[in-house]
Symmetry: C2
Subunit: 311 residues, 2 copies
């Protein structure tokens, strides 16, 4: 599959399968499928070695991490979660206590966000993994296609923390020096809290799962606009700065390609006064296409340097 990337496959599928049913409001191309009655459905797969490693994940964390990542697609659309269906791919190595720990991870989120585990499937397979389908409801979902020229681009938190945490855990760096990062990688949070506030004024929105550059590209492409990231406004968390110094990487470059923070990248015209929300304005929307970085008196085009699931 190295010859073509995920996006090319999705473009091929989109072209080959035009929308047929009136019940479908928005299909392939957004964070989730949207039905006309406001029901939103999204599916994500996770496999050992690729998406998590048992070197530093226990089964509770696997359950928590994967279900949070799935729920994040609902948060990105401003939807409330109703149910999840979970398909487990098991191997002989997985024992009953493992399954119970996995479900304990799910349960923490089920109780916090009050939705149902409504079904699933259990099969044997070539490696341990799970596919989670989440179902949510939104009266007026935020879409990737809602960004308009003249708007500002915002992010709900620091970026790069999850990837910093992953590197710290994977390379055995001192965990104590990176507490926020390690926690963000193991236990990311679907940002329903901020989504409830921003959906009143945001027009375009995506969750940052593949890295700022790729996620911004998705927004730009679906909205048919140009996105200019303003380098000096992109906030650098101290832990991200520390890792980048250690690795001698430019923090901006790191953040452009670091995925899995599951924060909300959104566009809006004017922010309401006295907004009870900590957000960062990191760019602007213009007419045109592509993603550009304005930094140190230069404007350069930014390639999709984020995580491609197939590369």
């Amino acid at each position: 599959m190295s010859e073509i990337g995920e996006e090319k496959i999705i473009d091929y599928i989109k072209k080959r399968f035009p929308k047929r049913n009136k019940e479908i409001s928005k299909g392939i191309g957004d964070d989730a499928a949207v039905l006309k009655n406001g029901l939103i459905i999204s599916t994500d797969s996770f496999y050992e070695h690729i998406h998590f490693k048992f070197k530093y994940f226990d089964m509770y964390a696997v359950g928590y991490h994967c279900l949070s990542a799935s729920l994040s697609d609902l948060a990105a659309m401003g939807a409330r979660p109703i149910a999840a269906l979970i398909s487990l791919c098991l191997t002989q190595r997985i024992m009953t206590p493992d399954i119970k720990e996995l479900y304990r991870g799910f349960q923490t989120l089920v109780q916090r966000f009050n939705f149902d585990i409504a079904g699933g499937d259990i099969v044997q397979g070539p490696g341990f993994g799970l596919t989670i389908t989440v179902i949510g409801q939104a009266k007026k979902p935020m879409m990737r296609s809602g960004a308009r020229p003249g708007q500002n681009l915002y992010i709900t938190n620091f970026l790069g923390l999850a990837e910093t945490g992953r590197i710290v855990l994977d390379q055995g760096l001192t965990k104590k020096r990176y507490p926020d990062s390690v926690n963000k990688h193991l236990f990311p949070e679907p940002n329903f809290k901020d989504a409830r506030i921003i959906k009143k004024f945001a027009t375009g929105c995506i969750d940052t799962s593949d890295g700022l550059s790729t996620d911004a590209h998705h927004l730009a492409k679906e909205s048919k606009v140009k996105i200019v990231l303003e380098g000096t406004h992109i906030p650098i968390h101290p832990e991200v700065g520390m890792l980048c110094a250690l690795k001698k990487i430019e923090p901006i470059d790191f953040i452009l390609s670091a995925g899995e923070d599951f924060e909300l990248l959104f566009t809006a015209d004017d922010l309401p006064k006295r907004l009870k929300l900590k957000i960062f304005r990191i760019g602007r929307i213009e007419k045109g296409k592509g993603v550009w970085l304005s930094y140190q008196n230069k404007i350069t085009p930014i390639e999709q340097s984020g995580y491609d699931h197939l590369s």
Copy 2:
């Protein structure tokens, strides 16, 4: 996972996750989750080696087979398909033409039954596989829990053909002698056609995916009834009879444990007159529990001998 089976895990999950949301009409335990607005959602996973072998499946057949199997859960509830979300788990071995062939298999069914491919996910994983989530709509879904004492048990077609086909293909027997069986294994059909007719009078229904004994056990358990299978009324297809003669197996035993026919096993009081449907009456519903076989003047309890995805 050999220590516990799929059913025990599902029972554990059901107990641990009681229904929380009013939108959920029926969750874990049936062919699919049912929302109060009549939306029905089901998910199924399929992996190479476990669910299909490239020794005799091409990619077109994989797409057709897996999507048909998934849609069958909707047919079993009398639902009309609206959309499918498809998560692909790819390996380096899978090339662009393979993906196109896979989607050509999906497309045949999309066009025949007029639903949408509304999204999905594409990841790298430990082996080739796919997880399909199907979404359907039914005003009054047929449930596993609808069987009542005094009713008859019916099946919409011969059973055992798909497993006969699988054995023929896997063991390299003469395919020409088993055309119906080979076709049934490679290209099973979701039985929407019969479902549309029987949903007017059927009360309990399940699709035969795990073998007659296991599927009858699901019906009996969810409906809290006893099912008596009448051995002499279970029809034996000539190809199934031929394979059983070759293998020296009792055809009834073979049919009890042979899965993946995706026919409709349903219960009803009185059949409408002049029913335009070829069905077989193969048993009766009584008060009590479990599944029993009435055959050669004996009534014996039947264990769940069908396919357990984890055994």
